[in-house]
């Protein structure tokens, strides 16, 4: 379906959801590049209500036929909704459509947060270089706020099954190893060695069951030139589990962007200190090491599954090849680094 085909169908859907609106139109619908797990579009919704012309900028996220990350869109939607208006900045969720009648595939619509950047590449240029310390403090403070949140008070346990504190690690490792088993197109000796080590040296039980964003890294939030963060995005892998899991993903060396700094911004120890201060939790070094290595395995599973989706023909978009070609070997080297073999 092209953008030209999509716009009138989206407008018709919006009109059904807004009974008081008249003359609902979708304008300037255009696809945003990237977005390997959802097809993402920005658009302006215009309508008249009580005789007054209105307009709102919105984001449409539509499931592709086969995505890099197979996830439940309701889980993602509810995660955004749970944190809206909190210290964790997220866009406002507007509609969730799980049926396929309106746009052939399920989708969600959110308010667009405008005027900020998301691309990591900009961070290594002026004037953003000068804001790294501030950005890092905000980044890991927000991640600490996610860890501090009570998922049961937020009602997230209704859509995200809570594991037992001692079972967090094995549930996640089992899940991602199964993805590797199903999707690998060639043997992965480094990743398999990491999995054996992880199973032989399990981490301590989680200090609490918290919300795990699942993909909190440089590149998945909107930032400004002063290092302030205005929106945390890409909650499609959100789940309940050990909050240290998110810290480990943020410290996965592939997110260093070829700089020897956590997230490409500050030394790992500085990032961990910001997280501890905000979360009220302790980042036991051995446990952080375990979760960082686990997240290297998880990353590899994601890159491998994107290759599988392309090979099997479910999704032939070039974005599916990019992580498979561009991140698989760096992820192996990240494993070697974390395990002390580099």
């Amino acid at each position: 379906m092209t953008s030209a085909d999509l716009a009138p169908r989206l407008a018709a859907y919006a009109a059904r959801r807004m009974p008081a609106a008249r003359g609902v139109e979708v304008r300037d619908l255009s696809r945003i590049s990237g977005g390997a797990s959802r097809q993402t579009f920005r658009f302006r919704l215009t309508w008249t209500e009580d005789g007054v012309p209105r307009e709102r900028r919105m984001i449409l996220r539509r499931d592709p036929p086969a995505s890099l990350i197979d996830t439940e869109r309701r889980v993602e939607f509810e995660a955004y909704r749970a944190f809206f208006g909190s210290k964790v900045p997220v866009p406002e969720m507007i509609w969730l459509e799980e049926g396929t009648e309106a746009l052939d595939l399920p989708f969600s619509v959110a308010a667009e947060i405008t005027g900020f950047e998301a691309a990591p590449a900009l961070l290594w240029t002026e004037p953003y270089l000068a804001a790294h310390e501030t950005l890092a403090r905000n980044k890991w403070t927000i991640l600490g706020e996610i860890a501090r949140a009570d998922p049961f008070a937020l009602g997230l346990d209704r859509v995200m099954p809570p594991p037992e504190p001692e079972g967090c690690w094995v549930r996640e490792l089992d899940m991602w190893e199964a993805v590797l088993d199903a999707d690998e197109a060639e043997p992965l000796p480094i990743t398999r060695a990491a999995i054996r080590w992880l199973r032989t040296n399990p981490p301590p039980p989680a200090q609490k069951i918290g919300v795990v964003h699942g993909d909190f890294r440089t590149g998945n939030f909107l930032y400004d030139r002063q290092g302030h963060i205005h929106g945390v995005l890409d909650w499609e892998m959100a789940h309940l589990g050990d909050p240290l899991e998110d810290l480990g993903w943020s410290l996965n060396p592939v997110w260093n962007f070829k700089r020897d700094l956590g997230g490409g911004l500050v030394p790992d120890g500085v990032a961990i200190a910001y997280w501890e201060a905000a979360s009220g939790l302790r980042a036991d070094p051995d446990a952080v090491h375990w979760w960082t290595l686990f997240n290297c395995v998880k990353g590899q599973a994601i890159w491998i599954s994107s290759a599988r989706a392309w090979i099997d023909g479910g999704n032939r978009e070039p974005i599916m090849v990019l992580p498979a070609w561009g991140l698989q070997n760096p992820q192996d080297r990240a494993i070697l680094k974390v395990m002390g073999h580099l």
Binding site: A4, P189, A307, P318, L322, L336, H341
Partner: protein, 142 residues
């Protein structure tokens, strides 16, 4: 590299042709072509050294299996093969068999408590480190 380079290049050829049509949304065209350019750059970088990398690695893995002696067990037979067919697909298939054998060998060595096993384990890790250097691309994302 998976997906295989020839298959990706064929897909990109179709993508570029489709984006030559005048009625494509400029933002969609820009996204498709910039990603295609990144992949073409990676394919170009991998092309020249692909056969050399695979031949070199297959030799190194066979030498490891020879040195593993009895520890190689049922995979010892892989050590005696040679790369007669130098097509990338044949070399890659042999490489996959050898790396699968390496996984089994490394798991077996980890379970053994002896100085010889630790020495072989160190050699395996060194080979794994070298394998990532052979696969290094300056155009990689991280």
């Amino acid at each position: 590299m998976k997906p295989d380079i020839p298959a990706v290049l064929a897909e990109l050829a179709g993508l570029v042709a489709r984006n030559a049509a005048p009625d494509i949304d400029p933002a969609e065209r820009a996204g498709a072509l910039s990603l295609s350019a990144a992949l073409l750059g990676m394919a170009a970088e991998a092309w020249d050294g692909a056969a050399q990398r695979l031949v070199e690695e297959n030799r190194a893995l066979r030498a490891l299996l020879v040195d593993a002696g009895d520890r190689a067990g049922p995979i010892a037979g892989l050590a005696g093969a040679e790369d007669d067919d130098l097509s990338i697909s044949a070399l890659s298939a042999a490489n996959a068999r050898l790396r699968a054998g390496l996984i089994a060998l490394q798991a077996a060595v980890e379970a053994e408590d002896s100085p010889e096993a630790r020495a072989l384990e160190s050699r395996i890790w060194e080979e794994l480190r070298l394998s990532t250097e052979r696969r290094h691309m300056s155009s990689a994302l991280a």
